[in-house]
């Protein structure tokens, strides 16, 4: 590869750069070489296919072991066609269709002591109903009766539960479960090593922004690193811009992600469980979770443990400790996959802006632990920089139907956000984000008013504090709004909002009403 050629490819199953899931691969190899069966549960983009390729590579090094990676269903969707394909790949031919045990016997004669079958896209088999059940039950029968000579490993999402529970798979009944997990910060850093190698390491802020936007979803992480490679000066705002492009050009990925886990039509339990975790981040009462899934809809009945595992394997929630804990220690993961989906219905641009900002801030509150980084002192934590919050707000607003101006998020000395909404053509909203008490927080009102150019109809100041002073609204009013005409507005809809002021400023001889949203973000861990 030429020295500066982009080493990242987010849309391939065999990337040039990989972060091997060493522990998972070792466990799977040990299982399969004993002739065991396993299944890998994961959401879209979580790296299942990449892991299957890694497994294939690892197992293929073993003498006497033949490994087949079956990436998709054959055109002819019958179990016989799948077996015929396996026979061909193993180099076994016969006049009549062969049973799997006959293929195994013939392969043994040809020197194959052990055959390992790796199946990707299990959901495709589950969608075919009988095909999936018959095929995998047949393979399972062979695996059990040819002790040690056949290993089977499959990867899928919700379809795995369909195959197991609706269709009654003997294979999945005995198979060992493996769960995919999002990249950790350390794994992201390892994947970003080529930046250091070319002398331009990504800053902590950029890596944090990548993590916040991607949630550690390997495909999204790789997408961000691929996009940033071409960028002259990667920044959190460049990360936001990359993901705006992603939302614009790869909507199908996001939709298929949702379909695979949350909107499959098979079961609404994962969605319900996710809503509960979002509503009770860090301390999820089990009775609330049970009640939420009590009247579940769909053909597939999913218990809450399965739902939690699915969400974790899709990178949508993070679980700490035992699944038996009550309350359960679980949080949603910050990511474009976990942004709020219901837009405000405000009748003015300003009402809609405030409503949508409150909705996004409410979600950030649920995602709180992801917005903290280690502090200077051991055990201490501090909020990520303003730019990271701003980048997340950009993505959140875009997800709610706003069009955020790309220029605004790049310009030094300009507002953090400048956005339009298609319902209000020609009107512009500006938003400034500050962390209390960092940088020039005290001048936030003036800054918003200063950005008030032609077409601007709404302005908001979002001020975030992890340890606000006692009586914060009063202190804030004194420090930031002294001399302004200030009024409390209606009770904030998001409980984490400590205050919501409307403050009036003057610009160009006209009154400018700025909404100040005071947002308390506790550490939450």
């Amino acid at each position: 590869m030429p020295e500066d050629q982009n080493p990242y490819r987010w849309d391939t199953h065999q990337p040039a750069l990989e972060v091997p899931a060493t522990a998972l691969i070792e466990a799977a190899v040990a299982l399969l070489t004993r002739g065991g069966g396993g299944y890998l549960l994961g959401g879209r983009g979580m790296g299942k296919s990449v892991l299957l390729h890694q497994l294939h590579q690892e197992l293929s090094r073993r003498e006497g072991t033949r490994v087949l990676l079956i990436e998709t269903l054959p055109m002819e969707r019958t179990p016989e066609a799948v077996l015929a394909s396996i026979a061909r790949q193993v180099g076994v031919s016969a006049d009549a269709p062969l049973e799997m045990r006959e293929i195994l016997d013939a392969a043994q004669v040809a020197g194959v002591q052990q055959l390992v079958l790796l199946f990707d896209e299990l959901d495709q088999y589950a969608a075919e109903g009988e095909l999936g059940r018959v095929l995998f039950n047949n393979l399972e029968g062979c695996r059990k009766s040819r002790s040690g000579r056949l290993g089977i490993f499959v990867a899928g999402g919700l379809g795995t539960l369909v195959l197991r529970d609706l269709l009654g798979s003997d294979f999945l009944s005995r198979a060992r479960k493996f769960l995919m997990a999002p990249f950790t910060a350390g794994e992201l850093r390892a994947l970003a090593a080529p930046y250091s190698q070319r002398g331009a390491a990504l800053s902590d802020e950029v890596l944090e922004a990548v993590m916040l936007a991607s949630g550690g979803n390997p495909a999204l992480v790789t997408f961000a690193l691929q996009a940033l490679w071409e960028h002259p000066s990667p920044s959190p705002r460049a990360v936001a811009e990359a993901f705006l492009d992603f939302q614009e050009h790869h909507g199908e990925f996001l939709r298929s992600f949702q379909r695979a886990v949350l909107r499959s039509g098979l079961s609404d339990t994962p969605q319900r469980a996710l809503e509960v975790v979002r509503a009770h981040p860090g301390r999820v009462p089990m009775h609330v979770l049970q009640a939420a899934v009590a009247d579940q809809q769909g053909a597939l009945l999913v218990d809450q443990k399965d739902a939690l595992n699915l969400l974790a394997a899709a990178g949508l929630i993070r679980i700490k400790g035992s699944l038996q804990s009550d309350p359960l220690c679980a949080w949603p993961v910050a990511s474009i996959l976990n942004l709020p989906g219901e837009a405000s219905q405000g009748e003015t641009l300003r009402a809609r802006l405030v409503g949508d900002l409150q909705s996004i801030l409410g979600r950030i509150h649920a995602l709180a632990p992801d917005f903290f980084r280690p502090g200077r002192q051991r055990g201490e934590k501090q909020l990520v920089p303003e730019a990271s919050f701003s980048a997340f707000l950009v993505l959140g607003l875009e997800g709610l139907g706003w069009q955020v101006e790309r220029e605004a998020i790049h310009g030094a000395g300009r507002t953090d956000l400048k956005a339009r909404h298609p319902v209000f053509p020609g009107a512009v909203a500006v938003v400034e984000v500050k962390i209390w008490p960092r940088n020039d927080y005290a001048a936030i009102h003036e800054q918003v008013v200063g950005y008030w150019s032609a077409g601007v109809e709404a302005g908001a100041a979002v001020v975030i504090a992890d340890k606000p002073p006692k009586g914060w609204p009063g202190v804030y009013e004194q420090v930031c709004l002294q001399g302004r005409a200030v009024s409390w507005t209606r009770q904030p809809v998001v409980s984490s909002l400590t205050g919501h002021f409307e403050a009036i400023g003057q610009a160009g001889g006209a009154e400018r009403r700025v909404d100040h949203l005071l947002f308390h973000l506790p550490r939450g861990d």
Binding site: E80, G141, D165, R174, D306
Partner: protein, 350 residues
């Protein structure tokens, strides 16, 4: 000093076991063995992973020659496929001498199989045909006439020689019972005798944990044995999983010598986190809910602590599957799963 074998976790077994991994079941083995000697047809039925295949494997090794066919290894269990696979299995098991005198080109696999078995029986062999996952033969639309003809021929060989037995393994014997009644000559009783396989006896269950513990350097004490029994009800795979949880916790404590009773309670909570345990409970519940709804209702009532009549419908199924003790107690695992984890829509309807 404990002998520690090179097995990281001797408790952890999901597939059928044999040899030194097989424990207990003396009465069941004796009963099956006696049936085989009388040339009867036996069947072992019960829940998935309760040890049916392991039990029949434990029968082999005597003077009888076992010819195995797992119906599940047939993509489509058509009469042709069954005959072909049985012929293949029989050819592999029987020696060339035992196949001597066979017609050189039998008209089909059915005839070839019958001829091969007849030749072996005439030579004095004692044969046992094992059909695993036999329910699959009846899955689509009952038994095909050509399969009925095959069983009729096998029955004829069995009656004529007194040395051909058949052992079937499956979930439910009803279909095979009906088949064997059709095969029985008028006025005679069916030669088929099903055995419902349930949990291990308490003493076998204790002995299994103690022995496996010894193999891994773990001293499994009385408190641990009692808790394991309480949670698993003696269902072998679930019982082993308790041992595995004990081993896992003991390794974390890193205490030597490892005496399990000091962390038995901790192991009990860890037990509920194990995938195999949860999957097994889930599977039992789904089976009952979909195929034995009265048993599911009874299970839900018992799990909820509601009073039930000893004659409640569903009792028979729960007992047959070994899920209900004579004292009307459930394995605690099942009570927990149904009361706290099972999809509530099912519970509400129960």
């Amino acid at each position: 000093m404990a002998v520690i074998f090179n097995d990281p976790d001797p408790f952890e077994r999901r597939d059928p076991v044999q040899g030194r991994h097989f424990f207990g079941r003396r009465r069941e083995l004796e009963r099956l063995q006696a049936g085989l000697h009388q040339g009867r047809w036996g069947g072992v039925f019960g829940l998935r992973k309760v040890g049916k295949t392991s039990l029949v494997r434990a029968l082999s090794g005597g003077e009888s020659r076992f010819i195995w066919l797992d119906i599940q290894t047939l993509l489509r269990p058509t009469p042709e496929a069954v005959c072909r696979a049985l012929l293949r299995a029989a050819s592999r098991t029987l020696s060339t001498d035992e196949s001597a005198g066979l017609p050189s080109s039998p008209p089909d696999d059915h005839q070839a199989l019958v001829a091969l078995l007849a030749a072996a029986l005439n030579g004095g062999a004692r044969l046992v045909l094992v059909l695993d996952e036999v329910d699959l033969l009846f899955r689509a639309s009952g038994l095909e006439p050509r399969l009925l003809a095959l069983f009729r021929d096998l029955d004829g060989l069995a009656r004529g020689s007194g040395r051909l037995s058949l052992v079937t393994i499956g979930r439910d014997p009803a279909d095979f019972m009906a088949l064997s009644r059709r095969l029985a000559p008028a006025g005679t009783r069916s030669r088929f005798s099903p055995l419902w396989l349930g949990p291990l006896t308490k003493s076998d269950a204790d002995a299994m944990l103690a022995e496996l513990g010894q193999r891994s350097g773990l001293n499994v004490g009385p408190r641990s044995l009692a808790l394991a029994w309480e949670w698993s009800g003696g269902l072998p795979l679930l019982h082993r999983q308790f041992g595995s949880a004990l081993l896992e916790v003991s390794r974390e404590h890193n205490a030597a010598p490892r005496r399990s009773d000091s962390y038995a309670e901790e192991a009990a909570s860890r037990y509920l986190e194990r995938d195999t345990v949860l999957e097994t409970a889930r599977e039992i519940w789904r089976l009952l809910d979909s195929r034995y709804p009265e048993a599911a209702t009874l299970l839900a009532d018992l799990a909820a602590g509601r009073a039930v009549s000893p004659d409640a419908s569903g009792t028979r199924s729960l007992r047959r599957f070994g899920l209900l003790s004579p004292g009307f107690a459930l394995p605690r695992l099942l009570s927990w799963y149904v009361a706290e984890v099972a999809p509530p829509r099912v519970r509400a309807g129960a």
